[in-house]
């Protein structure tokens, strides 16, 4: 048997949590066609919520208060706008206000090209509020790391998944090259595009480092992030979410402050995602990344 996919990894973690750890999984239409892209096992501990997003999130947080460490599935991240209230105003605040905890693992699933209310990547919103841990794993090992971190801590976790990653079996290591012209810092599904972009840029004689970013909050600047930037002098942070007030700009700022190097951000344009292909406002693709890098190099 070969390496597990991200989807298989999620399913295995979930099964173990529900069957061996008295865990719960709550969400809407969990058992509907495909069991959430084949990431949820058919086993005990699954609670089908009615189509009631705000109350559903509150109920899930309530189970966290009594130590069931629920997995809360948000089939499309756009729905976090409704589900966010109990997460932001209660789960994330309870530790600092009351010294208690509400450890809930929110599987927030991102997607692409599905129109205005099913294609969002909203992890930046949750980076904004204190009390959350926020990550965006794109590989099997990263997903395990995210889960183990959740079990180790007692904070609510926003796990910003992306459907693009579900069939991925490969780990994604940082790519560091001698005499690189730019360092690409990539988040979420933009990581897959950053790899393609680096290949395209190399054909044009532009050498790129690639640093993969999984942890968005807490975000810690490491030598692994700053060393290639000190060498390349130029950095670009690429994210699948909106650029304005988003993860890409926030992290670009942090890297700039830490190194003094020029670091730019690249995310979604400031316009609504639409259904028709030309207006989908998708994750920056390899071509857009390449154009941005060339503009940076050419001043």
């Amino acid at each position: 048997m070969g390496q597990k996919t991200v989807a298989e990894t999620i399913k295995e973690i979930t099964r173990k949590h529900l069957e061996e750890n008295n865990g719960l999984l709550l969400g809407e239409s969990i058992s509907a066609v495909g069991w959430v892209n084949n990431t949820v096992p058919n086993c005990k501990g699954i609670v089908e919520l009615p189509m009631t997003d705000v109350a559903g999130a509150g109920i899930a947080v309530g189970t966290a208060l009594v130590n069931r460490r629920p997995i809360f599935v948000i089939r499309f991240q756009d729905f976090l706008i409704l589900n966010g209230s109990p997460l932001i105003f209660f789960a994330a605040k309870i530790k600092e206000l009351h010294g208690k905890c509400a450890p809930i693992f929110v599987r927030a699933i991102g997607a692409e090209g599905l129109g205005p209310v099913h294609s969002g990547v909203l992890h930046s919103i949750f980076m904004h509020f204190p009390g959350f841990r926020v990550c965006s794993p794109m590989t099997p090992a990263e997903y395990i790391e995210a889960w183990e971190d959740f079990i180790k801590h007692d904070d609510p976790m926003i796990c910003s998944e992306h459907r693009t990653s579900y069939l991925n079996t490969a780990e994604m290591k940082n790519v560091l090259k001698k005499n690189a012209d730019v360092t690409l810092y990539a988040i979420s599904s933009a990581r897959f595009e950053a790899i393609k972009a680096a290949e395209l840029l190399e054909k044009e004689g532009i050498i790129s480092n690639i640093v993969h970013i999984m942890w968005l909050k807490p975000f810690k600047i490491t030598n692994g992030m700053t060393k290639p930037l000190h060498q390349s002098k130029l950095g670009l942070v690429i994210d699948s979410g909106y650029e304005i007030a988003g993860a890409s700009r926030s992290i670009a700022y942090e890297l700039n402050q830490a190194t003094g190097c020029c670091v730019k951000a690249l995310g979604l344009f400031d316009r609504t995602k639409c259904l028709c292909p030309e207006l989908q406002n998708k994750t920056p693709d390899a071509n857009r990344i390449c154009e941005t890098v060339k503009n940076m190099i050419n001043g």
């Binding site: 009615p50 009631t52 999130a57 109920i59 189970t63 208060l65 105003f89 309870i94």
Partner: protein, 301 residues
Amino acid sequence: MRSSNFGIIPNISKSFETGLLLDIFRRICFSRYFDLGLINAANEKLVTSMVYLSLGQESISAALSKAIPEYLIFAQHRCHDTYLSFGGNPEKLRDELLCLPSGSSKGRAGSNCLQCFENNVSMFGHHGLIGENVPLGVGAALGSGKPVVCIFGDGAAEEDYVFSAMGFAVTHKLPVLFVCEDNNLSILTTVEVRRSWSVTNVAKALGMPGIDITDDPWTIYKKTQELKNNLPAFINIYTCRARWHVGTGIDNPPEWDRFKIVKDELNGLGLSDQIAKIEEEAKTSMEKLWDKKLLQKLSKK
């Protein structure tokens, strides 16, 4: 429909043991004199945080705390009486309002966010969004299997997520008692201005028992005892908020004075001496708790 005697079971107090009657009265006094002391302290600027007084509504939690003392509690923003009646430490509550580290949440949360996890009380802190405690309480019942009481106001009852959570409790047959402290006011906007429908009817339509009563503590106790065997269930309790939504001021005289009605009834039962003693004890202990010099020392003013 809304009145001081709506749904009261006539002469029900006569069927209770004296000890129960007096204990409920003691809890009423305790909450009442806590808030009266707080009013003085706030008016003297010794308490400067926002305060949500229970004054006028305290008979509800006094009765509930005797009927369902072991329940997990998910209370609303107006919860001094819930905290005190179920067994919370009054000094910790005072200190919470003074923003002191010795407060119930180390002075970080305040009047509308009280929690208590001592003296066999499990009261989860509210964070100020009205009605948020209802889905949280339902989730806690689902996750723990333990009985839960969710206490909220007539305004919170209008939040869509409150209905949804109540419906979920019915679907999963969860042991949750939903209690609406219906003071007829959302800040100062009355129920009739806000809606034309009854929360009790909605609860019934969802498939749970639902009743409307007024804040007579003996009726509340009796009805709670009955409904706790048939959860989830809903009780709408007409009551009167004696002071502002937030703060110590008075808008209008309350429609009725439950405290006086209760005392009259107990006097009629020949318990005048006992209740006078209980009231005096509560008054004295709360005067000590809210002593001006003590407060100045605690808050270093």
